[in-house]
Subunit: 141 residues, 2 copies
DNA sequence: TACAATGTTGTAATGATTACATATATGATT
DNA sequence: AATCATATATGTAATCATTACAACATTGTA
């Protein structure tokens, strides 16, 4: 059993060829891909793959905490195989999503709302990455 | 000109009957409603209102910073007329969305990513509100 | 009143996601 | 290995939120 299959088993997911391929893709592509990106990129090496299978598999992976879903892009749900707590920055110009650090003190509790039980935290930043800031500045000149 | 119309003008939005009604609804209902909730609730008093108008108006309001959009609920976009910086908590049992405080230190910059220009921050918590925690505990007994 | 610009409406199209029925693969038992 | 039950994968069709677009209405101005 390969490394990716072991990873799935450690999350209580029965490995299948499709599940391994999708999990492997997510681990090798920390680009926060959409369903369609995953499907289209895997199709050449897996011609029988179905879009439905991608949806089903991503749901199984999420339910077993093998990935997290991002709703930072209003157009598409994005998927992230990195389940360590972290935040995300999306550039409104180039659309790229970057992993960023989660500021200290966020994980504990909500100030004034200590009675809430927190299961998950999503922190999304939107703005301009350095590259796109420079492009905007160049266009002004 | 009434208070809501003035509010729109202060955001550089030309007031119309529909825009005033939608803005007023958002200010009087800090419940983070969906498009459909807004549409259905306003329809009795505004029988000619169109769903498209609600979509159009919400976009205009957002573009002029008169509201913020929430992608905390994967099923529906939610709208919030409170544009002061704050975070949100959504209960996975009852579905209610609560306004919460934004922890100190978040607004400044991302640790290790100081070159990013941050325009907006969304902080979403998910978990169980106190009421639903108690319900779950009662069911166990 | 006439005119131009802006806002509203309804219908139809789009596109992501889900439901569902069928087919395939897996694993255990004989 | 053959059988069987269960789990997984596939393809099509349906759903539902959102957008595109064209026709209509309103507003403000001359």
């Amino acid at each position: 059993m390969n490394r990716t299959a072991q990873h799935l088993v450690s999350h209580n997911i029965k490995p299948s060829a499709q599940r391994i391929a999708i999990m492997k893709y997510l681990m090798e592509h920390p680009t926060h891909p959409s369903v369609d990106k995953i499907y289209c990129d895997l199709l050449p090496d897996m011609p029988t793959l179905s879009r439905t299978t991608v949806y089903n598999t991503l749901r199984v992976l999420e339910e077993n905490d093998a990935l997290i879903t991002l709703n930072i892009d209003s157009k598409n749900v994005r998927y992230d195989g990195n389940v360590m707590p972290h935040a995300h920055f999306m550039c409104r110009s180039c659309g790229k999503i970057y992993d960023t650090a989660l500021p200290e003190g966020i994980l504990k509790e909500i100030p004034g709302m200590e009675t809430f039980q927190i299961d998950a935290i999503k922190l999304y930043y939107k703005g301009l990455c350095q590259e796109c800031q420079e492009k905007e500045n160049n266009n002004k000149e």
